[in-house]
Structures are given as C-alpha cells and as structure tokens.
Amino acid sequence: MTFLILRLLLAYFLPWLVGYFALRILDYQGKFSRGFAFFAALPIGTGIFTMEIFLLGLTGLHLSLGLFLKVLAINLLILGATAWYLRRFSWPFDFSGRTLLRTLDKILLACFILILLFKVSAAAWQILHVPVYEFDAWNNWDLRAKVIFTEQKIPLDKTQPFYLGGGINSYPLHDPLWKVWVARATGSWHEGIVNLYSLVFYICLIGLFFNSLPRDWKVSVRLVLTYALASLPFLYFHAFVAYADLEFATYLFLSITALFWFLRNAYLANLILSALTLSLAIWTKNEGFAVVAPVMFLATVFLLLTGRVTGKQVFGYWLVTMFAVLPWLLFRSVNKLEVLSGNSSSFSLAFNSHFVADWFSSVFLRSHFNFLWLMVLVLLADYLFKVERKDYGMNFFTAALVLLFLLYNGIVLFTDKAYDLSALNRVNLHIAPLAVFWLALVVDKNRIFDYR
C-alpha cells in the first residue's frame, strides 16, 4: 500500500514538475505568485505530457512505462536546464515572504481548510470505494483509458470497434492518456486510483481561483469567494465523478483569466499562458474547439481592432494555441472525426420550446450552482449601465462570459443538437468558475465593499 501511494505521488509529481518548469520559464519577470504556479503546474504539465504521448502513440509505439518515463525525463531535462540557465529556478515551497494574516483571516482560513478537507476526504472515499457508475465514465473516458492501457497502444484501426479506445472516439485523448499513465505508473488498472484525477483538478481549480484574485484584496475576501466556488454543488459533485468537465473548466478558467490579466497589466506571459491553456482546453473536450475557440477568436479580433493588442500579439497567441494542439487538430481533420459528440454532419436551428421551462429552472432555480447565475443576471443588468469603455480587461471578461453562456445555452435551446437536457448543467459548469470570478470583479468595481 505504501509503495502504491509513493508510485501514485510520483505519477503526479513528475508531470507537475514539467508544468512548473514550463511556467517558470514563461514567467520572465517573476510575476506569477508561487501559489499560482503551484496550482497551475499540474494542469499544464499533464496537458503537455499527454500531447507528447499522443504524438508517440500515433507512430505506433508501445505505451510502456519506460516510454512514459523517458518522455518525462527528457521534458524535465530540457525544461529544468532552461529554467536553470535563465535563473528562473525557484521552488514554490519558499515561505520567506509570507502574507501576514489578521485574526479574522486566520479564522476564515481555518474554517475554509476544514470544510475543504471534509469535502476532499469525502470525495476521495467515494472515488476509491465505489465502482464507476456514471454513463460517460464507463462508456467513454475510463473505457478508452482501459483499452489503451490493456493494448499498450492507441488503436488506430478505424475498422475496429475500439478505434481510439472506443467510446466516443471524436473526443480528445487527454483524459484517457493521463489515466493510462497513472495506471502504468502504479502497476495496474485500478479505476479508483486513476479517477482521483477529477478530485485533483478540483483542488487545482480552487487553488488557481484563490491565486488569480487580485493580490491586494484582503485574504478574508479571497477566502470567502474561493469558498463560494468550492461549494458550488454541481462543481463539487463532479470532483468525484470521472468526467472531463471539471478539467475542461479549469483550462477554460485559466485561459480567460490569463487574457484578462494580460489586458490589465500587459504582461506577455499571461498572453502566452492564455494561448497555451486554450490549446489544452481544446485537447480536453470538443467544446474547446467548437465553442470556446470561436469566442476567443472573436475576442482577439475585437481587441486587435480596438487597438488593445497588436497584430503581432494576436498572431503569436494563435500560433501558440495552434502549435500546442496541432497534432490533435490535424489528426481529427485527416480522420474526419465529429466536431461534437454526436453526428455533426448536419446542423440546423430549431426552437426547443419544450426545454425552456426546464432550462430556466435548471440554470437559475435549482441547486446546481446555488444562486450564482441569478446573481450574474442581476449584476449584468446593472453592469451594462455602468460599462467603462476603457476597462478592456473587464469588458473582455464580461463579453467572454456572456458569449459563452449564450452559445452554450443557445445550442441547447435553439439547435437540433440537444436531444435532451443532459449536457445543460455540465456546459454551464464549464463557465461557472468564470462567473464567480466575474461576480467578484464587478462587486469590487462597483465599490460595494472595501476589498482592500
């Protein structure tokens, strides 16, 4: 058991280190906080790692433990050496510059940690002791991972039933390949062990959220807002369900907030980070390519036209995005994979009036997101009257959130692609962290409370 735990920790630590070195190299002015780098490292590291494995898998190579370790070793060598050479080699565990906490902060922090510990423990117990039950977990994500793990390669024969692992083979392989790695590193397929991934991403998202909030805000305020995110019922529920929606939400959150911060502080590293995490969102779920990429494209074009970004920056942004996810995009294009999960050969507009009442109830009145979306609706109505043209960061964030909300929910209400409401809350889950972040920004902007 101890050996298993050590192997599992190593399975997470090595890709985390890859992501951490990558972030340190990117952060040329050292502006990313240690906390941010700590929590962002794993999502970035796993994304880079699984993309490399995918590339190697396409060549027909056996996905053995040795291969995985070699890839990681080369990554660590190159990135570690580069970080060392650029003198950006610093550990996140240096506590010499700690934030002073007031009594209220300490109490709130203690409460928050207790609540989080309870939630995380309960979720871990659930994942480790109860078999996979949810449909997409055993029919898609875990199935593909298990097939690839068992075959020790990515099945590339289209005529076979388990092409790309079976399941919904139009979906990217980021999640399944990560699970293959964890199973390989721990020595066997144990679905509880591999599915801890969702919980780890939940923790990463919470940490990222806290560290993405303005650092001059009071710790107590940041803690309350972070608690609000952590306690979203549907988001927490997905921490112990082996789906990829929480991972996708994390990448999307990183991408949008990084671009927001770039527009606020003109720090190029944020722009590159936004591009990189957008590519990883595309590498995680099809919505990244079908929904998010078009929104980000529109946003970058608009920012270019209004002079907030230069042509070079936009070009660089999309170059990074496309380059990072090019293998997958090329592969899906050559092999004519569907754009969404079902048949995307035809697409027509239709008003699904029978969905409207349930849609409204699900999004605004039920407990999925507490009353988050109602608050967003109310504040949006107020915000639109107070828009400051020159606050490009805030305007971008608002526009991105609204557009994504309208697109996601519009597909459900106004197209023939939604056969029922099964995807509704999961797509709103993708943008829920952004909604909480946006709420925090708007309340600060309106000076309703003193955050500082």
Binding site: A122, V130, F135, W138, F237, S362, S367, F371
Partner: protein, 400 residues
C-alpha cells in the same frame, strides 16, 4: 426633513433618484422616534398574532379531515387491483387485505380529488419483506410520478404506518391514482388501512421542511441534473426568491443595509451548501450500507441492483481464454456496455456469435437440463454446453 437632536439626515439623500429613496426613506422614520415606532410595531404584530390565533379554530390544529378508502370493515367502491404476475393474490381477512405479492401489483382507486381536498395518503401495512411503494396520480392516463411519490418500507413484524404527502403539482387534481407495491421476491403484505386525509396546520407548516430535506435517489441522470431540493414539488429556491431579490436590492442600493444583506446572502448560500452537502453525504451513507457494509451476496449499488457483484462473479468464473461473450439481459439496456468496460479485453456481443453466453436476469433464456441447450421462446438457440449458475435467471453458458 426633521430637526432637533436625534435626527440624522442621510447624506446626499436629496440627490438620490426617487426610486432609490425607498430604502433609505426608512432612515428618517426610524431615527426620528425609534423607541415609539418600535413599540408600535411590536403591538401591531402581537395583536395580529392574537387575531390570527383566534381565527384558527383550535380544533384544526389537532383533528385532520380524512376519508378511509380501505380497511378491514370498509372498501369504498372504485378499487381495482392490477398485477403483473398471475401468482399474485389479494384476500380479505379480519385484519385487512392480504396481498401475496410476486413482483409488482397496483391498487387503483378511481375517485376525483385534489391536494386541496386531501393532501396526505396514509397506508398502514405489515410486510414480510421490503416493499417499495409508489403513488401514481392518474395512473390510467399520464401516470406522472416523481421521487416524492416513492418510499421503501422495510420488513416488519408489526403494523407500520407510511404517510405520503400529496401536496405536489401532479396531485393538483386527479381522476384516479395507483398504489404500486414492488417487491424483489414473493412477499406477504397485509394492508390494514388506506386513508386520504387533510393535514392539520401544524403538519402543513412542517411539510415544506420535510420536502426540503428529502433526498432524491441517486440515478444515472444525477451526473447531469439534481432534482432536489424541492418544496411542494417545485425547486426550493422559488420560495426563497423574494428574499433573495430583497437582499440583492438592499446589497446594491442601500448603504445602510448592505452589510446585513451580504450576510443574508451568505447565509442563504450556506443553507444551500449545507443542504447539498447533506444530500451528497446521504448518497455516500447509502453506498456504504448497500455496497461496502452489505454482506457478500447482498451487495447492491444504486439503480443497478447486484450487477456489479455479478460482474465480479463473472471475472472469477468465466472460462480462461474467453475471447468474447454473448450478453443477454432483460434489464437495463446499459448492462452489456457496462459489462464490456469491466470485462475488456473480452469482447461483449461481437459481430459473430461467441461460444460463451452470459445471461443476467433474462427469464426468457432457459437452460434445458436434458439436452443441455439454451432455449428462447421454446426454441433452441445454442449447441449443448456447460452451465454455471449465479442465480436462477443469471448464468454463464459455455458451448462444448
């Protein structure tokens, strides 16, 4: 606006738009003579409470209006019994009606009413085995029931009373309703009494809380939509909406009450978090009881019964070198695909028929001990083979 000591004019009050003065206009009123106004408010509230108390007859707090539909002495006309199994029987006894149940039996009552007439259904019964009760409004037409219309009753030696609230949209007005008795195996159920009743005020006040705390069963769709919490069959937050809107308005448009409004919103948020935390914990407790702590042979998981136990049995029992299997079940359409995930690399239902059959709860596929073949609808569908039973309807059959 006011003068003298003790008055405080809200800064910039005069410059506020008219509609915004509404909240802040409380300030001058309260601050001019706070003590006198408070006393008036207390007096009005107390007087209203007395009036209200006097208006409600004391009897309504204790006695509920009711109609006995069925007991050992009474059987109102309009009852029908529909059963899925011809072995099921219903016999009148001195204590009530004895239902010898095999599978599912529905007692249908034909009578028009709505929840404003009767908002509770009470069933007194004694059952030898666990029985799932389901109340189905308009059972002969729409049969639209929800999880609030279902309860599972454990086996008991004595009589137990089960109460169902009917204060839900699907019982607003019904022409008939059904009471479905579901048991996993043969069971004796003595139905002593079935009564419709109108709750007292005390029970009416308590019902929203009971509804709010009621946990929806974990189904395959829970990963997409949470049906709970609900009050009277509607999303619970609908009833909190006026409070929410007031708090939001106070938060953004009242400088005096904004901190209290924020606190109110935080409390509201915490209430939902606590409620949903309770729901998730309930799922885990249920999983622990049915899957972890249950003895081998009795483990079940949510809506899939003992299928996971069956899968574990298959992994241990399937012949070595099994490459593919034909999977047959009369249950969930998902089961072959779920089996495929757990049994991979063994192929389930390959394009060409496999030599091994897996049968899970498919009573139509029968093994003939004499010629050692499988039969479907009295026709042989396989060559002779060897059978290993999981239970009477579930087995592995391997062709020789």
């Amino acid at each position: 606006m006011c003068s003298g000591s003790g008055c405080r004019i809200t800064a910039n009050y005069a410059t506020l738009p008219r509609w915004r003065r509404g909240f802040d206009s409380l300030h001058p009123l309260l601050e001019h003579k706070p003590e006198a106004v408070r006393k008036r408010i207390v007096f009005v509230l107390t007087f209203s409470a007395i009036l209200l108390g006097a208006a409600i007859p004391c009897s309504s707090l204790a006695v509920e209006r009711q109609q006995i539909l069925l007991d050992s002495q009474t059987l109102l006309p309009g009852w029908q019994v529909v059963t899925e199994n011809e072995k099921t029987s219903v016999v009148r006894t001195d204590q009530g009606y004895l239902l010898k149940n095999f599978g599912a039996t529905t007692f249908i009552y034909n009578g028009e009413f709505g929840y404003r007439d009767y908002d509770r259904l009470i069933i007194s019964l004694q059952n030898s085995d666990a029985v799932a009760l389901r109340i189905i409004p308009n059972v002969t037409t729409t049969a639209n029931y929800t999880f609030e219309n279902e309860q599972t009753v454990a086996a008991s030696d004595g009589v137990q009373t089960v109460a169902f609230s009917l204060h839900y949209p699907n019982f607003q007005q019904v022409e008939n309703f059904g009471i479905k008795f579901l048991t996993s195996g043969p069971a004796n159920i003595l139905i002593q009494e079935i009564t419709l009743s109108q709750s007292s005020w005390a029970k009416k006040l308590l019902q929203p809380l009971k509804d709010y705390l009621r946990v929806a069963p974990y189904s395959g769709f829970t990963v997409n939509i949470f049906p709970a919490p609900r009050i009277f069959g509607r999303s619970a937050f609908v009833y909190f909406l006026p409070l929410f809107l007031m708090l939001v308005a106070a938060l953004f448009y009242s400088s005096r009450f904004k901190h209290k409004a924020l606190l109110g919103l935080l409390v509201l948020w915490l209430v939902t978090d606590a409620r949903m935390g309770y729901e998730f914990l309930s799922y885990q407790i249920a999983d622990y009881q049915t899957w972890i702590a249950a003895p081998q042979g009795q483990k079940t998981l949510r809506t899939y019964g003992d299928f996971y136990t069956f899968i574990d049995w298959l992994k241990e029992t399937l012949p070595e070198n099994t490459g593919s299997v034909n999977f047959h079940t009369a249950n969930q359409a998902h089961f072959p695909r779920l089996a495929q995930y757990y049994l991979y690399p063994i192929l389930v239902n390959p394009p060409s028929a496999a030599a091994v059959y897996i049968v899970y709860r498919q009573p139509k596929l029968i093994y003939n001990h004499q010629d050692q073949r499988l039969y479907l609808d009295d026709k042989p569908v396989s060559d002779p083979g060897v059978i290993t039973f999981y239970d009477q309807d579930s087995f592995i059959f391997a062709r020789r």
